[in-house]
């Protein structure tokens, strides 16, 4: 018991120290790196709280993709103005510390008092767990995401698409040399990619298929797929293109199209909106979502409306 407490205490302490360093490091680049470490400690915290789905998502999306996006944005700032490294001195705000202390006290009060509330018997989560046996899915989180509260998930896909469209609308497409950081002629790059990219596809597929019964799912799988795309962009094997082709447009919207197509199509058979007809529909929609999420995140990273393979 005391070992558990020690591990939890160390993780909590690690989160606090890393968060402090993220906001107070002198250089922004160090802050970004420490933020990635913070995300990984968060992933450990999720496993301690018995939420492995969230641990996977935090490691892949919270730490991985967010960190990669931050570093790419930092690089763009350096490309725009190499002289001025955009490291501004930290500002001062007289109210910062009092406000921080008050919000800490407020959040702790809310959290601790919520712990003492008598747990309800008939929460939505309990109902979802009871209904799970009829669905043929073993992972209750996937069940909630794809069956019980799938309107949330559908709109989440829409948010991802809107973020991509918004980012494209406000900034010019990246130049091909802007995204790549590795000398493309380095001999080991090919060998590395030959291992990394198939591995990312393999892991993504496993996470997707396992996600119906075990921890995993379309979001984690999409993020792992995006990691493979990021590696290809960094090594200039995939380069930013000016205009998206039909394939890109279809792939980015595949998740939404499959979701809406099945969810609305089912109404023709007298079902209610978004009442998915079975496990096959869950698999189909999750696959489409994985492709969309992976490509959308890779495009956001590359800062381009489309990616094309490099002509050798």
């Amino acid at each position: 018991m005391s070992v558990d407490l020690l591990i939890d205490g160390l993780l909590g302490l690690g989160m606090i120290v890393l968060a402090l360093q993220v906001v107070s490091e002198r250089t922004v680049l160090r802050s970004i790196i420490l933020f990635v470490v913070f995300g990984l400690v968060m992933a450990l915290a999720w496993t301690r709280l018995q939420a492995p789905d969230l641990a996977l998502a935090e490691a892949a999306i919270g730490a991985g993709v967010t960190g990669a996006l931050m570093m790419m944005a930092w690089r763009r700032l350096l490309i725009i103005n190499p002289e001025h490294s955009a490291d501004t001195p930290r500002g001062r705000s007289a109210v910062a510390i009092p406000v921080a202390l008050l919000s800490t006290a407020l959040v702790a009060t809310i959290g601790l008092s919520a712990l003492n509330i008598e747990p309800h018997i008939d929460t939505a989560g309990r109902v979802a767990l009871d209904e799970m046996t009829d669905t043929g899915l073993g992972n209750p989180v996937t069940g909630v995401l794809l069956l019980f509260r799938n309107l949330d998930t559908l709109l989440e896909m829409a948010v991802l698409l809107i973020a991509l469209l918004g980012a494209r609308a406000i900034s010019a497409p990246a130049r091909p040399e802007e995204a790549a950081v590795v000398e493309t002629t380095t001999p080991l790059v090919g060998a590395l990619l030959a291992t990394l990219v198939p591995l990312s596809i393999l892991i993504a597929t496993h996470l997707l298929l396992a996600g119906t019964n075990e921890p995993g799912g379309a979001f984690q799988a999409g993020a792992v797929l995006a990691a493979g795309g990021v590696a290809l962009v960094l090594t200039a094997r995939l380069q930013p293109a000016k205009r998206p082709g039909l394939a890109t447009q279809l792939a980015v919207t595949a998740g939404l199209l499959a979701f809406v197509g099945i969810g609305v199509g089912i109404m023709a058979f007298g079902e209610t909106l978004l009442a998915l007809p079975g496990t096959w529909a869950v698999y189909l929609i999750e696959t489409a979502m994985m492709v969309s999420i992976g490509l959308t995140l890779a495009l956001l990273f590359a800062g381009a409306p489309a990616l094309v393979g490099r002509r050798a």
Binding site: F35, L77, L115, V141, L160
Partner: protein, 102 residues
């Protein structure tokens, strides 16, 4: 015991995030602070939702998973905005002076 420890740690992390958001000048650092705050809120959400025999509340987990993905989408859009601001003004910060000039 585990939930209490993480609620306390996440509360402090939230405070650190608020502090970072207020003192940071660089917009990228403000975004990092916002993401840190988001993470602590997710932890507290999960703990507050309570847990049964089969682990934490699945509805809360699904909502947090949705939240993590929305957070990365919003961060990506905010980063694009920041790069645009930097391209226009040469600074990756917003000060009160910007408001006065308008």
């Amino acid at each position: 015991m585990t939930p209490t420890v993480f609620v306390l740690a996440a509360s402090v992390v939230f405070g650190v995030g608020v502090w970072g958001l207020l003192i940071a000048e660089h917009l990228l650092r403000k975004l990092l602070a916002l993401n840190v705050m988001g993470s602590s809120v997710f932890i507290i959400m999960l703990v507050v939702a309570g847990s049964g025999t089969a682990g934490p509340d699945p509805v809360a987990q699904a909502l947090i998973l949705t939240g993590i993905v929305i957070a990365v989408a919003a961060t990506a859009f905010a980063l694009a905005l920041m790069v645009s601001i930097y391209r226009e003004t040469g600074r990756a910060s917003i000060t009160e002076k910007d408001d006065d000039d308008r």
